[in-house]
Subunit: 283 residues, 4 copies
């Protein structure tokens, strides 16, 4: 079955659900699931419609043209994706392998609704990991002086491999604003920080010294302007004084891979909408 996912948001006025569902119905689509969310602060209406598009009575181009007209009438921002255009993801990693293994395994189990197109790394350590899963690996070293060339090389590789979104699987390089903007809301990062986040060096040591009882991790879209872009997923674990710094680091690995995987799944399923500084993550 060929399906499509339509995401849209607009000012909350009467008739949106009706007009959207009528548009799909009149083109012979069949709604499988639809979620709406009315935002109180800005009076904004968000909608995600998952529908059977295999019986559409017109070409896809005509359908999208009609959708543009509908969007114009309601001043909607829309995005539509079709199930036969499976997304392709790039993974960027450095030396830590826990997030990379996790993504490779979940990809193979079919948990992630995307193709894993390539792995790009500024080190050679993880080449054998990608190889053991038969995923192309590219070594793109980065030095202080070659960051822009390295990013250009990565962008070339992404273009050549038709990459739709990028996952930073503990990639230990800061991206330039320009790079972040090129894949706006399409770069997923994992923040290995605690909640409440301790700033500066050795956050795990600081957490230990303060005797926190809960640690956590956060996945988010990487953005150019902000330290941390819109949050996609967060998870916490209980700790106590018996947990050594090593034990905290080990728990951090589990937290990081969990929140990163959840964010990647949600992005691949087109379940995320970004509005201002926050995400709406439909189920």
């Amino acid at each position: 079955m060929e399906t499509a996912i339509l995401r849209l948001h607009c000012c909350d006025v009467k008739g949106i659900v009706y007009n959207v569902s009528r548009f799909i119905y009149e083109h012979n689509g069949n709604i499988i699931n639809a979620e709406q969310y009315a935002e109180a602060i800005d009076n904004r209406f968000f909608m995600r419609v998952y529908f059977d598009s295999s019986q559409l009575r017109c070409t896809r181009e005509t359908f999208c043209e009609g959708l543009r007209e509908l969007a114009a009438a309601f001043d909607m921002e829309t995005a539509i994706t079709f199930s036969d255009q499976r997304k392709r993801m790039a993974v960027m990693a450095s030396k830590y392998d826990h997030c990379l293994y996790d993504l490779l395994l979940r990809h193979r189990y079919g948990e992630i609704n995307a193709d894993l197109a390539l792995v790009v790394s500024n080190h050679r350590e993880l080449e054998h990991v990608a190889a053991s899963f038969h995923i192309p690996f590219f070594y793109v070293p980065v030095t202080k002086d070659t960051k822009s060339e390295a990013e250009a090389r990565a962008l070339e590789l992404f273009a050549a491999h038709h990459v739709d979104f990028v996952v930073l699987a503990r990639y230990m390089q800061i991206l330039t604003d320009d790079f972040a903007r090129r894949y706006e809301h399409r770069i997923i990062n994992v923040h290995h920080g605690f909640l409440p986040a301790f700033k500066g060096a050795k956050p795990y040591h600081q957490a230990y010294e303060h005797g926190v009882k809960i640690i956590g991790a956060t996945s988010h879209y990487a953005t150019a302007e902000l330290d941390m872009g819109p949050i996609i997923e967060q998870e916490t674990m209980r700790v106590d004084h018996t947990h050594s710094v090593d034990a905290l680091v080990a728990m951090g690995r589990d937290l990081e891979r969990n929140v990163l995987a959840a964010a990647v799944k949600a992005h691949a399923d087109d379940r995320i909408m970004v509005y201002q500084r926050r995400t709406i993550v439909f189920r």
Copy 2:
């Protein structure tokens, strides 16, 4: 703002969202939120629509008549409630007060979208609790020989107080089938059992002896035919060998009040649909 909630389920065919949203649109309602769920096993489609009904162009009777016609056309089961018809709940309790206090407090905080009409108990111990919250309390004793009279008396009280649904807040009496059927899917119970549930007497002692690492509680609709009707909410907590039976009992109180409150909120918000042996609990 006057609002309404429409819940429906039917065989999953094309055009349901469109026809339902058109019906609401043509009567000048405005959808605030709608959730759908397509059930894979039985090809069943569930929908909950929350809409602004303050500008309806017809009488409520005419609207409901139109809804019945729509339902007939799609062989739908439907239920509609209006925000000006606030639900009224009865609480049945015995001697344990933790669930009763929790409901009284949440009710007063405005967390529960229903009026707390009365408390019925087979003991007098909790009369002062109801009184301190200014809720009518009725003592309806139950003995082996007077169960049917007692239930008849409770039903009378419920009728007199226009009760829509009943919450068993650790009410230590088994209900008759007849009573359960009179309020089918409108009696909410809490099961104080562990997961996995140990059958028979002293479940906490059994759990202790087996060294379980997790305990839990379950809220569900009380049904006539089954020991445990459709599950509404479950919650678990981690335990270990350091937890005494007393500690487990204390944790059980917290679990019970949490899952019962979550179920009562969901029911009061018309977020639950029952289908066969299971619930769909919309958010």
Copy 3:
């Protein structure tokens, strides 16, 4: 059975467990439970011993004198409490009642190993709550100009009621440094902030705007010098875009009462040791 709890910490040298257990054994005490914890960073050894003291061969004074000698030999900081000297707690509250009710109920269930001596409030709203549980209530109003008199009055009341520790159950007044120092590590507060904490006004609104996926609360000892003293307990809950600010506030109530109750129980059980900026909370 009369029991005692000995807590101590000292530099980690050989023979501490042996010497402590010998001391107890030679005085005819019987260890029921003992926990140790060796701190890696500062090479500090913490120990909590729970022992049967009903057969002690000497007076309690002699026992404590011997303990002082042992402590001197190892440069230990020690604290000992006996089960017949049940702690007495004061609760300070303002208008919010959720933490107060929770403490009153848990106290009555026997979950808190302390007497609830009195409630002090800067408002009259909760007087009836304390009254319904037969706990003395004192109205001690506070204005900008009368803070020191009000604190003096509270301290008088605490002295008169033999108060050992103070619980700030959403008490909406900032304490003076002097007050905090008088009950150092004996004032338990609950921080209603999110993790990561948003500073400034309306933290719940800020959290909503940032689309956080987890909220939390923290209980801690109130200290004079720090905004937040040593953390005792933390708890988090998952949220998403469907949670309104009202829903977040309701969840905040649950979080606050849970973390406050856990801290009060741990303090009453003499399970907490404070070292520098952090707590060790034995089980």
Copy 4:
């Protein structure tokens, strides 16, 4: 630093902590951590002592001889392990790779205090996984008629590789009683069942049909006589109607690897004691 772990349990009488700590002190050991637990039901005392054994004044044989005398005096069951005798584990797997990958990675991160000696499987599918981590892999096929030969072959391999304990990482064969007895309390299994466990075929489908709101997994020691031996670790996750059977299966993979890893870590650290049908898992 050479360390040792002493675990013991006996009837709870006066002087156990004193005598054990004296024994260690007099042999010039230094206690780093000790945990005790007094069992209420059977008046049983459990103790785990972790101590620095690098300065012992006698041979290890003499120390162990002394320990046997102490054990005899108190009718204790004891077990002692030394840090230079690192445990060796065997992993048995079939075709599912999620638990195997998880153990291989955690082993490499140093999270598991044991050597991963070999992988034994009744299929060839996971040979390349073991190979990519440089762990010996042995294919030991099992048919209905060759189960005893296959088990004999596995036992031979375990003996040749000096295996101390066995991890069933989704090994899809039932062990014979004889095999289970040979490694009593040294075979760790993961139960992929739900809580409450649905018996019989297709537990995930049954859970779906009952609309459970929580799923879980359990790790335990495999025993000869019981379907499920003493529980070591359990974990749960929240689910709702939106989770398909596929989603439940994916969550099941995460649960299984988590509870299995936690059990393996605890076993490797000598933190588990088995008493009757339950475990005490020290921290």
